[in-house]
Amino acid sequence: MSTRRNFLKAALAATLVPRLSWADAGSPAFLGAAKDTNGDYALYGLDAAAQILFRAPLPARGHAAAAHPTKPEAVAFARRPGTFAVVVNCATGKITHRLDAPEGRHFMGHGLFVNDGALLVTPENNYAEKKGVLGIWDRAKNYARVGEVATHGIGPHDIRALSDGTLVVANGGIFTHPDIGEGRQKLNIDEMEPSLAYLSASFALEEKLVLAPELHQNSIRHLAIGADDQVAFAMQWEGDETEVVPLIGLHRRGEEVRLPEADLAEQYAMKGYAGSIAFAGDGSEVAITSPRGGRMHRFAPDGSFLGAVLRGDICGLAPMGEGYLGSDGFGALLALKEGMSPLNAVPGLAWDNHLVALPSLVA
């Protein structure tokens, strides 16, 4: 009997499971983590109209997720300095694998599938050596950890890929240690050097962008990729909170970086903090959110400021339609562009920092 059962299991694994596609998960368009009124955390799948398709419980507070390009599989990461990530089967809502950061490493809340989904890469902090690394995990080997490479900066956070497979890593520049201040205390604010690192598909450093010295406390944290591989990055200012600094950067490889700002009063109202960044669904503009400032700022790809949309605690942001889908800590999911209109409001559900658009479904 047991042999037969094992045989069936193997057969299922070999034939049925690989055939599952995102359609089997109800074709979600977005993923987002949230906390509910019981204090429980879960990863949610949302359809194109921001209605909840599935809920997969998480063991602790999440941050962002990485979606597999073809399989209905997402990896949800603990927020830093968490040491776990879970692979969720989005068709069943079940956790299929658990990834534990190796000794001396912790996750940063983000990750990315590369090589057509064969590998998962995870920005991590190697805190003994005070340097950032990418952990490499092999999906075909049940997500075994198969390697690790340098990100060429401290505190790597978000990671994205350009169309040719080049990886872009936001090295936030901030050093933390799990044993100090619950692992989130910033230990090197005076010596921060955030950077944007471009790594080849084989993980070799190809280009590194470092901001001007007076902006060395502007932590580069989150990324979005626009048309023609324009890289947009969102920053969080760790310097004097009364200084008004740029919070978005626009860069193309080999070109000068642009750091556009809104007018002084609007820029000040962002409170030195951009939580998420996304290009509009039609690629015509890019926006950053500030939950602290209660607003979203929109910019054209050339850097000109297009306007602000006000919404308290807004943070999560993803491309949707011609504009954006935004989320906040009050349970709202909003369609955003020049204005906003609510698509879904789940009282008691606090959406966490990020929404992830499923790449296969976004033009």
């Binding site: 009063a265 602000a308 949309v309 204005g339």
Partner: protein, 344 residues
């Protein structure tokens, strides 16, 4: 700011057509919201309008510092009753910074004022032009330099500086009047708060969100007083920075802390669904400690004993916020924003 008005229009249209609105809220929330809007925000908006009208009238008649200073204090007092409400018309069009540009870390105000005066910049000639002038020459802190700083306060009647002072006071009243109109209109911000999802210009999806927003203003304003009004002048033990105290030129540093605490207390009393004995005690103690400083410009921050006394006020504000969370936030079921209070 064209985009903001466009935003309001599109928001009104889109909400009218979409989603179910949140269910009616339980009575305590409803009552807290009604009290906070009607008994706290509307009177505060009105006082600032009246006080700045007085300031503009006084200055129109006689622009010299000795004449304007008492009215300046009246206007600044009224602003302290309003400045914690970073919402709607008050934060629209960059008004908060245009009214109160502080802290001015890079010394933009004296530098820009000097430039305008040296160039006899014609922006003072019309209110429309002045409304577009640099925020460094507008508002209460530019006016403070003109009235209280010996680099600027020696001007004569009918001089450029005199016209500049008149332009600043008119501009302040213009903004106060706009805030009042936009707050109290039938489709104004008071209704946006009160009616939430059913308001003519909705911003909050439910009354709970409106209460949440007001509660956030309460807590953020106390935190701001602790971090900025207290935190900037005390600096560090080794390096106190009394020269960074808010409104020290007009000797209002201590007064502003007291008035801010009183404004927060008024908002808290209106929001609280029941008694708030611990918060009352903490407010009374913190205000009494501040009054006992007897140090109008926080110059005492420069010596260790004086610095310690000011620092203790900040510590009391932290304790006070804990009491408010228990006695106001918890019974209303609201807390600081999930993302805004703990980002990554």
């Amino acid at each position: 700011m064209r985009h903001l008005s466009a935003f309001c229009v599109s928001l009104g249209l889109s909400l009218a057509l979409s989603v179910p609105l949140a269910p009616a809220m339980a009575a305590p929330l409803d009552e807290a919201l009604s009290r906070a809007v009607n008994q706290h925000t509307i009177p505060a908006v009105d006082r600032f309008d009246v006080a700045t009208a007085f300031l503009a009238d006084v200055t129109e008649a006689n622009c010299l510092p000795g004449n304007v200073k008492p009215a300046y204090d009246v206007a600044f007092d009224a602003w302290m009753g309003l400045q914690h409400l970073h919402m709607g018309p008050i934060e629209k069009n960059g008004r908060i910074l245009a009214i109160a540009f502080w802290p001015d870390k890079k010394g933009m105000i004296p530098r820009t004022l000097s430039g305008y005066i040296a160039d006899q910049d014609p922006v003072v000639e019309t209110p429309e032009a002045f409304a577009d002038a640099s925020i460094a020459v507008r508002g209460l802190f530019a006016l403070e330099y003109m009235l209280f700083d010996d680099q600027f306060d020696g001007y004569a009647e009918d001089s450029y500086s005199c016209h500049l002072v008149q332009a600043i006071t008119h501009d302040l009243h213009r903004m106060a009047a706009e805030i009042k109109a936009e707050w109290n209109a039938p489709d104004g911000f008071a209704q946006t708060l009160l009616m939430a999802g059913e308001a003519p210009q909705p911003l909050y999806l439910s009354q709970e969100e409106s209460v949440q927003a007001l509660y956030t203003m309460l807590m953020a304003s106390l935190e701001n007083t602790k971090d900025q009004r207290i935190g900037r002048p005390i600096g560090t033990f080794d390096k106190p920075r009394p020269e960074r105290a808010e409104a020290r030129r007009s000797g209002r540093s201590e007064r502003n802390v007291i008035l801010q605490l009183e404004a927060a207390r008024d908002l808290a009393r209106n929001l609280a669904p029941g008694e708030m004995p611990l918060s009352e005690e903490a407010f009374a103690k913190t205000i009494a400690l501040t009054e006992a400083l007897n140090d109008p410009s926080f110059a005492g921050a420069g010596d260790p004993m004086g610095r310690l006394k000011i620092e203790i006020i900040g510590q009391n504000i932290t304790g006070l916020m804990g009491n408010l969370a228990n006695e106001v936030g918890a019974p209303l079921g609201v807390s600081a924003g999930f993302n805004s209070s703990d980002g990554d």
